[in-house]
Symmetry: C2
Subunit: 329 residues, 2 copies
């Protein structure tokens, strides 16, 4: 591609399976991408104990950890030697071109804003996910960066995600819809109605109005805009249903010979389905609206999900996602 070297700071202490799965993911990424160097931030002893070694992986020792039940902004401000804050500082100073963390979403967002900084013209950042669906993926945002939004925030999400999905992911003229409680013109609350008018007025966006809950599962839009509260609930509900189905079918196959035989015959279908709806696989996307690459991986990330988040960060950096958003807003 090019000879550029990409240095990523990776928060080794964030996420349910840290540090082992994070370190494993780092090795996977270095093996896959020759242009990547990774700096693991975290407890050096614990990281070394994972025994995941690669010549392009370095460690920066940190002494603090931010947990998901801390107040995000306070934690970022006060825990200056936390694995997350140190990773963010490296982005701010340019020592790293991006950072990746599977830690507290709130702290990652707070760090993105307070340490890395917002892009001028963007009031609130947005975190998107590639939502798996029956037909194709939809980029759903926001899923947790900005809990409740003003209409202007939702417009900015539409503008940023349009750039990201077109220029970084490579979908021409992506369809944008706004999540609402029905598709009729009269639906939506005041905020959603006002956002619809603001987004409609932008001729450079391929905006096609409202999308409702039952269409979320079908990929009927390349981009789906909503506030962080709704997006979070929809994303997690989808995860919950698919995990439930998986464990239900697994249990039935354990307990019933009929189900076991049936499951064996249906294996190709089921395998395809789980692969398609593997939420963790698609979990890592960059926080849109900050002056750099700050990528959130799923809290339950194991090594492949960490690799996926690192891949997303790498792509965002190579295509200069933050620069594009900054220059086009």
């Amino acid at each position: 591609m090019n000879a550029q070297k990409i240095t990523l700071a990776l928060d080794a202490m964030g996420g349910d399976h840290a540090p082992l799965e994070i370190c494993k993911g780092a090795v996977l990424a270095c093996n896959k991408f020759e242009d990547i160097e990774i700096i693991l931030t975290g407890d050096e002893n614990k990281i070394k104990a994972c025994n995941q070694i690669h010549p392009r992986i370095k460690i920066i020792h940190t002494t603090e950890i931010i947990s998901p039940d801390e107040h995000p902004a306070n934690a970022i401000r006060t825990k200056k030697n936390s694995s997350l804050r140190v990773a963010m500082e490296m982005v701010r100073t340019g020592e790293a071109q991006g950072c990746v963390s599977a830690g507290s979403t709130g702290a990652i967002v707070a760090g993105g804003v307070l340490v890395v900084g917002r892009i001028k013209g963007i009031d609130r950042p947005a975190l998107g996910v590639m939502l798996p669906t029956f037909e194709k993926h939809s980029f759903l945002l926001d899923v947790g960066a900005t809990v409740r939004c003003k209409p202007e925030n939702l417009l900015q999400f539409a503008l940023m995600s349009n750039i990201y999905i077109h220029k970084v992911i490579g979908i021409e003229n992506p369809v944008i819809k706004l999540l609402s409680n029905g598709t009729e013109e009269i639906k939506g609350d005041e905020t959603v109605l006002a956002a619809k008018d603001l987004i409609s007025a932008r001729n450079n966006l391929n905006f096609q109005g409202y999308i409702e809950g039952n269409e979320l599962a079908w990929g009927r839009s390349d981009i789906i805009i909503c506030d962080g509260f709704n997006g979070n609930i929809a994303l997690k509900f989808g995860e919950g249903i698919m995990q439930g189905l998986k464990s239900l079918i697994t249990n039935e196959m354990k307990n019933s010979l009929m189900a076991k035989i049936g499951g064996a015959f249906l294996y190709p279908v089921v395998k395809k389905l789980w692969a398609r709806f593997n939420y963790e696989k698609y979990g890592g996307t960059p926080l849109l609206g900050v002056k750099g690459c700050v990528t959130k991986a799923h809290g339950r990330s194991k090594a492949p999900a960490v690799l996926s988040a690192i891949s997303a960060a790498r792509k965002f950096i190579l295509e200069d996602g933050a620069g594009l958003i900054s220059s086009e807003i």
Copy 2:
């Protein structure tokens, strides 16, 4: 049970399968419940053409229909001879003890408030559904009556649904949770945080804090409180996923012999699963907070779903749901 006769006004013109499936549902209900009399409101010719006859079914001819894309309050105010408005008027005057409609949710809610009237002490009504889950049902409300809520509205939803689920449905000391974007104390927006404090302060409620999206699929709470925007999206997303799975598996079984054989062996499991997640079956619940029984059936209701909504209305009337809410609030 007792010798009380129950007269229900049934909107024959509301819903995707009106009037035929509505009329069929009315016959099913009269056959099932000897204490029920049904008055169908709608176009007499169209209703008669359905040829669904029962000695305890009468028709009141109406000339107007309210469609889902009309402004709900305007439609209720101006279309005085609509099938829905006439059914509501019968509840107001006492000619019927309750009404059932599969028509526009907005119009049913508007009619409940404007025609039947709010219970004193209740600022906004709430519409709940028995959300099917992997373990047991959860009563999710609101799913569309009050799009955005103040903390006080959410408190009132908790109080009303507690009475409904305990006294009408018969679950002792029901667990109540509040839908949020995470279970940690610091999650939620201002409204949800304030609602949490208000609900916590009521010692007569078995309130157990937040529930997040991935737990929705598991019935981890008897009652789940949220605003109508979130509830609507969650409910429809769940429906969309289950419908998608059904059509995906059906297609695979058509196109692949392996899948067909597998499906045949798995038939008991799949049948159980579809029966459990049949959203339409559980669609009908009374609008809580109005002075009478106003029951919304799913817009896609076929005869069994209409029967289910009529059963729910009958139970609400027999247990005097509206009276209990009125006296306890």
